[in-house]
Symmetry: C2
Subunit: 355 residues, 2 copies
C-alpha cells in the first residue's frame, strides 16, 4: 500500500458519461474524490463528483489546471485526442497508459498487436481507397464489415458488405477515413472478460459474461456465460496476456467469439466496459472499484461472483418500462442522469439477480 | 408514478455525513441530483452531490435559497432544530414529516408513542431533577441508564447507574438537561428492522439484522438474525405499525430486544440506519435507494435478500486494517471520505458476503 494514493486524494477522470459517473461513485466508496473533465455541459458524472471542468480537449490552460488539481488521471473512453494526452502525461500519471490507448484507438494496430501475442482475430485487411476495398473483399469474402480505423463506437462508422454492389457505398460511408475490412466469424456465442491489472502486476478477472447485441449495441450480458470450464479459463488467459503485454494499469474489457476452433478476439476496450456492469450486483468488488483500485495503486479486490446476473441495457425509450422495472423482483435499476432519451442513447441498465 | 418526481429533479438532504453521502449515491442511481445542506465545511456527502450549501441551521437566507433549489427535502439525522424545520416545511415537502421527527427527537415522547401503539418498551421514568432521579431509581431499580431526552447519539449523553453512589454523578452528567431513566431489559439478542413506507401507503421491510454493540456504538450487524420465523414476522409487524401510525414516508430503523416475553422496542430512528448498511451488498434495492424511492414518490423496490451478510463498522483506527480488508474475499469496503480518524468516529464499514 506504500505506493497507493491516500484516501482523500483526487482522481481526474477524462470523460463525464455514465462510465465516469460509475467510476466516481466507486472512487467515493474507497474515500477518494473525483474531478471530471468533459467538453460537454453538465456531464452525468458531474452529478456525483466533487469537481467538474467543462472545456474542450484542446484547451491547454484548462487541461493544465485540471492536471494540477488531481493526483492521477484515468479516462472513461479511449478516443481522447493524442495532443491532450501528451500535455497531460507530462504533468500527472495517466492510467492505463498511452500504449494501451494507442493500440485500441486504431483497429488495425489492435488486430496486429493481438496477432503478435499469438491470439486469433477475425480476418482483416487495411483499406485506404475504393480499389483497396475491392481487393480486400476479394481476399476476405462476404459478408464482411468495413470499419473506420479510429473512433468507432456502438456500430457507428461501420458498413456491411454482402456483395459487389455494397462496395462503393461502403467506401463512401467512411468519408475518406482509413478503414479496415473485417471478415465475419462463425461463432456460437460472444463473451467478454473484464479483467484488471494492478500496480504490483497482479491480475484479477471477473467471470466471463455472455453478450447479446441488438442493432450493433449491447443489449444484454448474462453471467455465467454458457461456456465450458476450459473455455472460461482460456478466456481469462487471453485477457491476462493482453494486460501483461500492455503493462496495463486498470480494467480492460475483451470481447471474444466462442468458435469450434477456439476463442477469437473481437476487440479490446482499455476501460471499464458495458458488459461488466453486472459486477455491480454480482460481486463484492465491481469493475468500477477494481479500476479505481488499480489506478490509485491499491491491491485489486476479490472479483469472485456470488450471484448469477442478467444485465440489460436501457436504451432510448426503454425508459418507458421504468415503472415495471422499479417494481420487479430481484432487480437493480441504474440510471445515468441523462436529460433526454434519444433513440440509441444508453439511459441506464438493470441488473437482474437470478436465483 | 404520476406523483413521482421526474428523474433529473433535485433532492435536498439536511446533513452531509456518511448517511447523506450514501443517500446521494443511491439518488444518482435513480437519476436524481442532490443538494446537501450542512453547517460543517466540506461534508463527506458533498463529494458525491451536485450541490452543497455550507451554512448554519439558523441561517434563514441560506435555508430559503436551499429550499428554492430543491424539489423535496429529506434528512440524514433527526436532531434538526425545530425552527429550521418550520422554515423549510413552508417552502417544500419534508419527508419523512415533522411528526416522525417530533416523536424521535424526544426519548420520552418516543416511549409514550410506542406504548400508545401497544408496543413494549423498557421501563422508564421522566427525570428532571436529582430528586426525581432518586424516585425513578427506587421505582425502576438498578442497573439503569439515565439518558438526556433529546440529542442522544451513539452513547453520548448517557450515564449508567448501578447503585445509590451513581445517582448524583449521573444527574450532574446531564448538565441540567431533562432526562429519562431507562431500566435494563434482559434480552437474548438485539435486532433491528429497516422498513420503508411509500407515498401510496405500501410498506416494505428488509430482513431483521442482529446487532452487536461495543462501547455503546454499533459494531456489527448480521443477517439473517438468529430469530424464529414468528419473531421475524413480529419484528416486521412492529416496524409496519410504527410506519403507519406516523403516516411515514421513507426508511425507518427500529431497534428491538428479543426476550422470552416477546419483542421490546429499544428505539426508532426516522432515517436510514447504520444497522441497514448490509443491504448495500445483500439486496438488489438497498436501504438508501428505498428511502429515496419513498421520498420522491416512486414505488418501493423489492427488499428481498439474496445473500447472507455481516456488516462491520470501521471506527477510528480500525482503518489500520484496511490493507487486509481490501484483499479479503467476498468483502465490500465502504469508506466515508472523512479527513481524520478520531477515536469513536465512524470512518467506514465493510460488508462480508457469507457463503
Amino acid at each position: 500500500m506504500t505506493d497507493a494514493l491516500a484516501p482523500g486524494r483526487v482522481i481526474g477522470i477524462l470523460g463525464g458519461g455514465q462510465l465516469g459517473r460509475m467510476l466516481s461513485v466507486a472512487a467515493s466508496r474507497l474515500g477518494y474524490r473525483c474531478h471530471i473533465y468533459d467538453p460537454g455541459v453538465a456531464p452525468p458524472a458531474g452529478q456525483v463528483a466533487e469537481y467538474v471542468t467543462t472545456a474542450p480537449w484542446d484547451d491547454a490552460a484548462a487541461l493544465t489546471e485540471f492536471a494540477a488539481s488531481v493526483d492521477v488521471i484515468t479516462f472513461e473512453f479511449e478516443n481522447i485526442p493524442t495532443a491532450t494526452l501528451v500535455l497531460l502525461e507530462a504533468l500527472r500519471p495517466i492510467r492505463p497508459g498511452r500504449r494501451a490507448l494507442a493500440v485500441s484507438q486504431d483497429r488495425l494496430h489492435e488486430k496486429e498487436f493481438l496477432q503478435t501475442l499469438g491470439l486469433e482475430t477475425a480476418p482483416f485487411a487495411l483499406v485506404d481507397s475504393a480499389e483497396a476495398l475491392e481487393r480486400a473483399v476479394a481476399q476476405i469474402g462476404t459478408p464482411a464489415i468495413l470499419k473506420t480505423r479510429r473512433m468507432g463506437y456502438d456500430g457507428k462508422g461501420q458498413a456491411r458488405i454482402d456483395g459487389a454492389a455494397d462496395i462503393q457505398p461502403a467506401w463512401d460511408a467512411m468519408q475518406g477515413a482509413p478503414a479496415i475490412l473485417e471478415g465475419f466469424v462463425t461463432f456460437s456465442l460472444e463473451i467478454s472478460v473484464i479483467a484488471a491489472r494492478g500496480l504490483s502486476g497482479e491480475v484479477a478477472a471477473f467471470d466471463p459474461g455472455e453478450n447479446l447485441h441488438k442493432s450493433g449495441i449491447l443489449h444484454e450480458t448474462r453471467v455465467p456465460a454458457r461456456v465450458s470450464a476450459r473455455q472460461r479459463s482460456d478466456a481469462v488467459l487471453v485477457a491476462a496476456k493482453v494486460l501483461n503485454a500492455l503493462d496495463y494499469l486498470g480494467v480492460l474489457g475483451v470481447e471474444m467469439f466462442v468458435t469450434p476452433q477456439g476463442l477469437i478476439v473481437n476487440e479490446i476496450a482499455p476501460r471499464v466496459h458495458n458488459s461488466g456492469h453486472w459486477t455491480q450486483n454480482g460481486c463484492s468488488v465491481d469493475q468500477f472499484e477494481q479500476h479505481i483500485r488499480a489506478v490509485v495503486g491499491l491491491p485489486l479486490g476479490d472479483g469472485g461472483r456470488y450471484a448469477d446476473v442478467v444485465m440489460e441495457n436501457l436504451i432510448g425509450d426503454d425508459l418507458d418500462r421504468l415503472p415495471d422495472l422499479l417494481r420487479a423482483k430481484d432487480t437493480a435499476v441504474h440510471l445515468y442522469g441523462k436529460p433526454e432519451a434519444r433513440a440509441g442513447r444508453k439511459m441506464g441498465h438493470v441488473n437482474r439477480i437470478i436465483r
